[in-house]
Amino acid sequence: MAVAASYGDTRAATVGDYFALLKPRVMSLVIFTGLAGIVAAPGDIHPMVAFSALLCIAVGAGASGALNMAYDADIDRLMSRTKGRPIPQGAIAPGEALGFGWTLSVASVALMGLFVNLLAAALLAFTIFFYVGVYTLWLKRRTPQNIVIGGLSGALPPAIGWAAVTGDLSLAPVVLVAIIFLWTPPHFWALSLWRSDDYARAGVPMLPVVAGKPATRRQILAYTAALIPLGLVPAVIGLGGPLYLACASLIGFWFAVEAVAVFRERDEVKEPAAKRLFRVSLVYMFALFAALIAERLLHLAPVASWL
């Protein structure tokens, strides 16, 4: 069988393999930021409509992950980080993953349109298209700016959540999208600093492979310098309150300290600072959106009401 020949020994696919195809860790961040968009948006939404919106965001994100794994199966088996995925393991054939991914994509967009509203459905469709068509098929193997431009797809869930409640968009969701958009490059470039051999072996032109590690460290610092002030903007425009401001300031400062440490790092083998920055970037993202959610639920936002 061609698939078995390409991807080694085959084995029976388990439910867990199909779940892994949905990239559950990425999905959890997407659900979380989508929930923040729903909670932060002005207006009321029926709990079941909110649940449906989140479900569609989660399934759409998972479908994108499955399609990404199907189209990238050839390079996934070359990288130690991804060779344990279901397709390189021979559990699921790329064609099956494609069918699974496209079915879930169409279903998630259709259900979003039926149960929530057309703007949210259109944004979800655009997100899937951008991740699969623009990032995976076009940019990923062609340019070191792949994760910068492609990061837009991962940044859109708060806008989808917002649109699910209000039926339109405004400055506030755009700011949330911009925060995730600027957060993506330092997050992934930190990872690629200690995984650069992996990417080089697979022929993926990540920044450390193409431009070198010093250039990557400078870029991480530049994006961090833009991200930290932008992270404070929700408090300025009334979206976040004192808890958000405190989180964005303190963890933003921690993020900046780690970015400087990456810039000054000289251990190019173990890259301890890059590993720390990767972890801090995850904490930063979860803390910012958790603060937004908590404040809305506790009626603490906006900051102006405290002055």
Binding site: R11, T14, V15, Y18, H46, L111, L114, F115
Partner: protein
């Protein structure tokens, strides 16, 4: 031998197929329930 290990369970194609079928049935059942509830929500908001 009657004793099986977790690795055997994971690789047993019959067992894996049965579990996939159960998962598909549960997902379709959940979809039906979701359609029913959302129809109620849209008709009687």
């Amino acid at each position: 031998m009657a004793v099986t290990t977790m690795a055997d369970d994971k690789l047993d194609p019959e067992k894996a197929r049965r579990r996939r079928n159960v998962a598909i049935a549960l997902a379709l059942g959940a979809l039906v329930v979701l359609f029913y509830i959302m129809s109620m929500v849209r008709v009687h908001p």
